[in-house]
């Protein structure tokens, strides 16, 4: 063992990851488990088996909570079931997110509300519930919100997504201002173009794929595993003085 390894160790920590059943959420849940954390995975259906197997392979415990993150009821359900299983939550990764595409001239209220509810409203109230529990028990905590390139840029035909992700970046700063002194770190990760099943159609479209790769300085799609280092850093004591920051993991996308 290297001398510094305790710096990034999450041994015996409890990490709650929303949207943990696939893609980025799954990779982060497994990454956190690799660093020693036990995982509570949240997703809309009872589809936690694959993530559970990967986490348990790391010798860590996995608990699945099925919750509809469009509704506020999910917040109390997640906290109750999570706390019932492990007694505490040390790390919250607000990863679950949805997107709806349409011209802003035609955009519907439902497409606005659903996205804002999952990506911003429930993210806030889950953070609030986690922070209340930390403060009541005088324990530190780490909250990691998943932002987006559209926390920095406008995008097109995704008005509720852009609004929600810009909101996530602002909220990350505000919550850090309020909770830093209570020993809670609030930061965000802004992934760039990542190779997940959500972007599979783009990757398969030869023309779009080339245009995207030409635009990324690193010249490749990000892999879900590329977020692992960042999430471990932000979940561990190595980042105790990092507050309100949105860490871009984008192969240089925002640099140009």
């Amino acid at each position: 063992m290297l001398k510094f390894s305790p710096l990034f160790s999450l041994e015996d920590k409890i990490a709650l990851v929303t949207g943990a059943n696939k893609g980025l959420g799954q990779a982060m849940a497994v990454g956190l488990a690799t660093a020693g954390a036990n995982i509570i995975g949240v997703s809309s259906g009872p589809h936690g088996e694959h993530t559970a197997a990967l986490v348990e392979k790391q010798g860590r415990r996995y608990c699945h909570i099925a919750a509809d993150l469009r509704s506020m009821e999910s917040v109390s359900k997640i906290m109750e079931e999570g706390l019932a299983t492990y007694g505490r939550i040390d790390i919250l990764v607000n990863n679950a997110g949805i997107i709806r595409r349409n011209d802003s001239l035609d955009f519907t209220e439902a497409d606005w509300d659903d996205v804002m509810n999952v990506n911003l409203k429930v993210l806030f109230f889950l953070s609030q519930a986690m922070a209340r529990n930390c403060v009541e028990n005088n324990r530190p905590g780490k909250i990691i919100n998943i932002a987006s390139m559209l926390s920095f840029q406008g995008g097109i035909r995704v008005p509720s997504y852009t609004a929600s992700k810009s909101g996530v970046k602002g909220l990350t700063m505000l919550l850090a201002n309020e909770w830093a002194s209570k020993g809670i770190n609030v930061n965000a990760i802004a992934p760039g173009y990542m190779a997940t099943d959500t972007t599979e159609a783009l990757q398969k479209d030869t023309e779009r794929n080339k245009a995207i790769l030409d635009r990324i300085p690193a010249g490749r799609w990000g892999e879900p595993e590329d977020l692992v280092g960042a999430v471990i850093f932000l979940a561990s004591r190595a980042s105790d003085y990092v507050q309100g920051h949105t860490l871009a993991v984008d192969g240089g996308w925002l640099g140009r």
Binding site: M173, Y241, V242, Q243
Partner: protein
């Protein structure tokens, strides 16, 4: 896997001006992660004392004297490192100076001197080490930026100009070199408790009150806080992080309000 993610075993690191303060904290952290640490300075005595201080942490530090603002001197110094230690895998552009003088009172030569050390030197040193990183198709460059990479303050015009420029030099190096698997990032430290900040931190100095009031974390950063971030950016853990400035500031940039009376304080 976690070991491998943050492991720097066998890597050659150059920390410019890594003889004291934040630079030394970075060198120490990367050294503990297994890297071979090289530092330069223009002051021979600082190199000697740094060598002893690194040794106290169990790190055999290679020291070499050269001036980061002089392209010929940089070439000589880095050639010596390459000959004695190996080609540089990780460059930390840390050497920097600050002059706290209002613009109206600042001689142009002083302004240029700060730009030379804080902005031109990272260009010179980066330009010298990048070709070997390109050959290896791997490299990490960390430019030490500042909260003044994004905001101006009273009386630090040259410093803020240089650090703002360094933020975009970081982005530009990323654009040019990312395709060679070189990651170029920056760190923006907040107010850090080093020997250099001791005079304004201790003994009831009013600046301490300002930092305590305005930093959401409610404390000065420790040099190790910055070292930790450097280890993240120097390691495989950050292989898709590029062109990014990572602020380690206890939340100051998320906050940056006005504290009553601060305009009467000497600025840092």
């Amino acid at each position: 896997m976690i070991q491998e993610l943050f492991d720097l075993k066998g890597k050659v690191v150059l920390v410019t001006g890594g003889t004291h303060g934040i630079g030394m904290a970075i060198g120490t952290m990367l050294g503990k992660a297994g890297a071979k640490i090289c530092v330069n300075d223009i002051d021979e005595s600082k190199l000697e004392s740094a060598k002893a201080e690194y040794a106290a942490h169990g790190i055999d530090c290679y020291t070499v004297k050269f001036n980061v603002t002089d392209e010929t001197d940089v070439d000589k110094g880095i050639s010596k490192i390459e000959q004695d230690v190996g080609t540089i895998d990780i460059l930390v552009n840390n050497a920097g100076i600050i002059k706290r003088v209002p613009i109206l009172d600042m001689p142009v030569d002083d302004y240029k001197m700060v730009i030379d050390v804080d902005l031109v030197a990272p260009f010179i040193v980066g330009k010298r080490v990048a070709p070997n990183m390109i050959k290896k198709n791997a490299g990490k460059i960390i430019n030490m930026c500042s909260m003044m990479s994004v905001y101006g303050r009273n009386s630090v015009s040259a410093y803020a100009s240089a650090k703002g420029g360094l933020k975009l030099l970081t982005a530009n190096m990323c654009c040019e070199w990312a395709k060679y698997n070189i990651q170029v990032n920056g760190i923006g430290p907040g107010y850090i408790a080093t020997a250099q900040t001791a005079p304004i931190r201790e003994g009831g100095h009013p600046f301490n009150d300002l930092v305590m009031m305005r930093t959401p974390a409610g404390r000065w950063g420790e040099p190790e806080d910055v070292g930790n971030a450097a280890l993240f950016l120097a390691s495989k853990a950050s292989d898709f992080v590029n062109g990014h400035i990572l602020y380690v500031d206890g939340g100051i940039l998320a906050n940056f309000g006005y504290v009553k009376g601060e305009n009467d304080l000497p600025t840092l």
